[in-house]
């Protein structure tokens, strides 16, 4: 048992750091030259798709390397990719898609030329996703599905070119059966996107109405009726991604800086015991959670399963994100109220409220915390 990185791993860490140092655009260039960054990552040997296996152009990182890679990327606040294509759809296509589908869709996913959105949740199917009602019926000639129904909470549907969508092709059997995984363009006739304005007035999620949308059968991924199985694997992916532990480590450091910039009495907010102790309690848990992620990783690296500890990552990770957001909100003081395009008070204040409001979603989307606990108690603890 040894917490130190091997010499190879340390060398790899150095390589990642040097790469970032040399290639990450600085200052405002980060916004205008994002393309250069992703190009450099790609040319480095598939670093633009760190989780993809080598046969699909990924770098073939070991689990430890991936941990180091993620950590360094988080530490240097490199620009993130939209996750829907690269992280969520691509693994499904690799595992269950046809060779044709892989050749057709993976390049656009990888180079970011095609934006995807995820058509899962429906008004009656939130936490209980398998309850979905959107119908896909095969035409008589067997060449198309005709899709009717409504999706909701569809993130970035208004800028997506394509959607991957769960549809019901049969209502016989258990509700997990008879679900089919379809892909279609968002500009197909019969697709209508209506914005949902969420807490704080932002437009990220949408309702998507589907009326007689015609989808060629070759756009079905895998077998008809097996969509639930494919999606479940993908949900697990999504949950790991949502834990965002390395980002929380950074965010906590930033929260400390924010608090240290707020004068209170002769010192700063960071010296106020009530605040400081909350921060400490949070940091102790985050240290523990960070190491729990390492244990999960080590378990996988040793050729095993991620272990029961992995199940707590999303649950605790999102809770910690929210608590960091609360601390920033508190540090913002009266300036928490300022909205619209205006900023007043300390620089971080305005972002603090947006983050706090938007952050409430992290314990709801991607499997609400209550559902996660149901799942852990059943699958990990064997409670009926």
């Amino acid at each position: 048992m040894d917490i130190e990185f091997s010499e190879e791993d340390l060398a790899f860490q150095q390589e990642v750091r040097s790469f970032i140092e040399e290639n990450l655009p600085k200052g405002m260039d980060l916004w205008t030259k994002r393309g250069d960054w992703f190009k450099a990552l790609r040319e480095k040997g598939g670093w633009d798709v760190p989780k993809w296996p080598p046969e699909f152009g990924g770098p073939g990182f070991t689990p430890t390397q991936r941990y180091i890679f993620d950590m360094e990327m988080a530490r240097h606040s490199t620009p993130p990719q939209l996750p829907f294509g690269v992280t969520m759809l691509a693994p499904i296509l690799m595992a269950y898609g046809s060779k044709e589908q892989q050749d057709r869709f993976l390049p656009g996913i990888r180079d970011g030329s095609v934006n995807w959105c995820q058509g899962y949740s429906e008004p009656g199917a939130g936490s209980d996703l398998a309850n979905l009602k959107t119908k896909a019926e095969l035409t008589e000639d067997g060449k198309h599905y005709i899709v009717n129904g409504q999706k909701i909470w569809t993130t970035l549907a208004h800028i997506a070119h394509w959607i991957f969508c769960l549809t019901r092709t049969s209502s016989a059997g258990a509700k997990q059966e008879g679900i089919t995984f379809l892909l279609f363009p968002m500009d197909s006739p019969g697709v209508e996107v209506r914005p949902i304005i969420t807490l704080g007035g932002s437009h990220t999620v949408n309702e998507v109405y589907l009326t007689d949308v015609k989808v060629p059968v070759e756009n079905r991924v895998g077998e008809e009726g097996k969509g639930w199985t494919y999606a479940k694997g993908l949900l697990a992916h999504e949950r790991t991604g949502l834990a965002g532990i390395q980002n929380s480590v950074l965010a906590l450091e930033k929260a400390k800086e924010n608090a240290a910039s707020i004068k209170v009495g002769d010192g700063t907010l960071l010296d106020v015991p009530a605040f400081r102790n909350k921060l400490g309690a949070l940091e102790a848990e985050l240290l523990a959670l960070e190491f729990t992620e390492l244990r999960t990783l080590a378990s996988v690296a040793a050729g095993g399963s991620p272990g029961p500890e992995s199940s707590i990552l999303k649950l605790k990770g999102t809770e910690i994100q929210q608590r960091i957001q609360e601390l920033n909100l508190e540090a913002a003081g009266v300036y928490a109220a300022v909205w619209g395009n205006k900023a007043a008070g300390p620089k971080f204040a305005k972002g603090a409220m947006s983050a706090y409001l938007g952050g409430r979603a992290t314990t709801i989307y991607g499997g609400a915390s209550e559902v996660q606990k149901d799942v852990i108690s059943k699958n990990v603890l064997g409670l009926g």
């Binding site: 949740s121 209980d128 409001l357």
Partner: protein, 374 residues
């Protein structure tokens, strides 16, 4: 000891409830918050006609001689209705200061205007670098004969763009966060040298950064005595906290009852959410938090009315407790509404945001807990 409302108080409550039923639902409110001023002048006229703007003031000042209990009743119902009219800055902040510390002239002119609805007023107390310390006042007031010249910047001044008058805390002597040497002035909102940067607040209300540059006011503009502004700020802050607590209690009641109603009709896994034991217990805890917050709000309000020695301590405990319960009730209401709790369509999100802002005003939970145990 009598914890029931008098007949007059019941009538007051009924009248607010009726007003809200007739005039406020969430789409109506959304229309109001989208207007320039962010509230309705017509509603404000009705507030005056219904006597609400006169409620807490002494009869000799033209008021109805009510007590903080009446303000509690009004604010609790305003909290349920998510009312956006500037009752809090005008009546609670400026009104408390003037009725308790104002000169006869100030009362005759400004308090009378507040009561009849012709004057909207506010209190400019917050400054950058103060972080909840009302005595941190960098704005200066320099004496020059019978006049004072005010300079400085005030933050998050509620409804400043609509206000006719503005109370301003400024420093006439002492160091930046000394208790002594603060003086409160009554200033014309349109006076020369005042400029504003207006913005909406996240809860749909309005506020401004207000900059005073060599604003000249006569000595008669002093509210209370020169240098004793600390007392004014403390008194106003106590009334403000009682009012915000009552508003929070109203908002929390709606949050937990709306959540109960929603979970009864929302079906997941073939059962209404209201049948899941974890959610039932969560809602029970929300109910309990509301009950306790309401109890302490009542207690503190009655102590203030009575002028008890325990008042100050109890108000610190109250603002702490309100912040804690509001956070629990608000966050869980959103959580139990799932995605729907995140939308601007339901009231839930609006109560949630309002409660978050209330915690940031007149000292947050940590600030008051620290003072409560001091």
């Amino acid at each position: 000891m009598d914890l029931s409302y008098t007949e007059e108080q019941q009538m007051l409550r009924d009248s607010v409830q009726k007003f809200i039923e007739d005039n406020y639902d969430i789409s109506e409110r959304n229309k109001l918050t989208a207007t320039d001023e962010g509230f309705s002048r017509d509603n404000w006229k009705q507030f005056a006609e219904l006597g609400w703007l006169a409620m807490p003031f002494a009869e000799e000042d033209g008021g109805l001689g009510g007590s903080p209990v009446d303000t509690m009743i009004l604010m609790e119902e305003f909290g349920k209705g998510l009312v956006v009219e500037p009752f809090f800055p005008t009546v609670v902040l400026a009104g408390s200061a003037l009725s308790q510390f104002g000169s006869a002239d100030q009362k005759a002119e400004v308090l009378a205007g507040i009561i009849d609805g012709s004057i909207i007023a506010t209190f400019a107390y917050a400054e950058e670098g103060a972080h909840h310390n009302l005595d941190h006042v960098a704005t200066t007031a320099t004496k020059d004969g019978d006049f004072y010249t005010l300079s400085g910047t005030k933050s998050v001044v509620l409804n400043a763009a609509s206000a006719d008058r503005m109370l301003v805390s400024a420093r006439t002597s002492g160091d930046v966060s000394d208790e002594a040497g603060i003086t409160v002035f009554l200033v014309d909102a349109g006076a020369d040298g005042i400029s504003r940067d207006d913005y909406p607040t996240v809860d749909g209300l309005r506020a401004s950064e207000v900059t005073l540059k060599d604003v000249k006011v006569p000595a008669s503009a002093i509210v209370g005595k020169e240098g004793s502004g600390h007392d004014v700020l403390e008194a106003v802050s106590n009334r403000a906290i009682l009012a915000l607590a009552a508003e929070s209690v109203g908002a929390m009641e709606k949050l937990y009852t709306d959540t109960i109603a929603y979970t009864k009709q929302r079906v997941q896994f073939d059962h209404p959410l209201s049948e899941f034991q974890v959610l039932k217990h969560r809602m029970t805890e929300m109910f309990m938090e509301h009950s306790l917050a309401k109890s302490l709000t009542m207690k503190a309000t009655m102590l203030e009315t009575q002028g008890s020695d325990e008042t100050q301590r109890t108000i610190h405990a109250l603002k702490y407790l309100i912040g804690k319960s509001s956070r629990f009730v608000g966050q869980n209401a959103v959580q139990l509404h799932g995605g729907m709790g995140m939308t601007e369509e339901l009231r839930i999100a609006h109560y949630f945001k309002r409660l978050a802002i209330i915690d940031s005003q007149f000292g947050n939970t940590d600030h008051h807990l620290t003072r409560f145990v001091a």
